[in-house]
Symmetry: C2
Subunit: 180 residues, 2 copies
């Protein structure tokens, strides 16, 4: 179980640059024991698939981790909320541009899940939306488990939502008209 | 793991009235397999303590289940979010009137947890705030476990937050001035 907020802002270069962070006096966090860096490691260690069911994604680092894995050949599928995918700062536009397939609920209610199934073996779930406020501001929890009795129902829920939402067009998403 | 939304609105009398629901043709749900009724059973079966760490509580049935247990002698402690406890429909006012002790974060960030530790043995956690929209509208998940490796960190988190928040007064809560 990971708890937030972290006390320090994580160093993006340390996490995501191919050569790491080269600053001797970097003041951002390189702490592998921090909740955020542990969370990033789970995403960055994905080998086969990332099945994301996430209400809101605005965090640069997590979005970049997802697109990095996608470019490396990991299958990425995203289910998200219609209203929130259109808010300022949402990373869904970037995901669409990269070619990542996104499906969003067609309901006035919220697609409020905040989980990801990694390689069909690990589930990461909790109160934590993938936003900056959730990393160093909010009080949040994230449970990580590879217990098949827990992973299976989350994987089924992802598949059910994915198949229930028709992949006809992104007509609910105003970005659709800007992409291509 | 419980998933929402439920397809039918639950019957409050069935769940909470001492004599149950006496309607022969009740059209509300009495389905013990529904996620909401399962969730209510966990709360109503509490024997010793309910340690709630909940961003938002507006659901009548869940609030009534908590006050019922409190009146039966179960220790109830609530940690919540300052802004959300003052919103319309929040049950915190009612909890305070009953004598339930509430502590709320003093931060501009969110106390975004949605978990409850029951009898220090079971943790109920997920994306699910205790609201009506979460029951029959939103897409939500709730994980219930008695695995001590999971329960322990949630219990510690509750204790840490509880002790970190000074119990000086409810000066952040405008209801304070109406309560005695």
């Amino acid at each position: 179980v990971l708890f937030f907020p972290d006390s320090h802002i994580p160093c993006r270069k340390y996490l995501l640059s191919p050569i790491g962070c080269t600053k001797n006096d970097c003041r951002l966090s390189h702490n592998e024991k921090s909740s955020f860096i542990k969370l990033m490691r789970y995403i960055l260690n994905a080998q086969k698939s990332l099945k994301l069911c996430m209400f809101s994604i605005t965090c640069d680092e997590l979005a970049q981790a997802v697109t990095t894995k996608y470019r490396q050949g990991v299958v990425v599928k995203v289910v998200t909320d219609t209203e929130y995918m259109n808010l300022n700062g949402s990373k869904m536009h970037g995901f669409l541009k990269q070619g990542i397939e996104i499906r969003h609920d067609r309901s006035s209610y919220l697609m409020h899940h905040k989980f990801v199934v990694i390689d069909e073996k690990i589930v990461v779930t909790g109160s934590f939306n993938w936003t900056h406020a959730a990393v160093v501001g909010n009080t949040e929890n994230v449970l990580v488990t590879n217990n098949p009795e827990i992973v299976r129902p989350y994987l089924n829920e992802f598949t059910n939502l994915w198949e229930k939402i028709p992949n006809v067009s992104y007509s609910f998403c105003y970005y659709t008209y800007k992409v291509h």
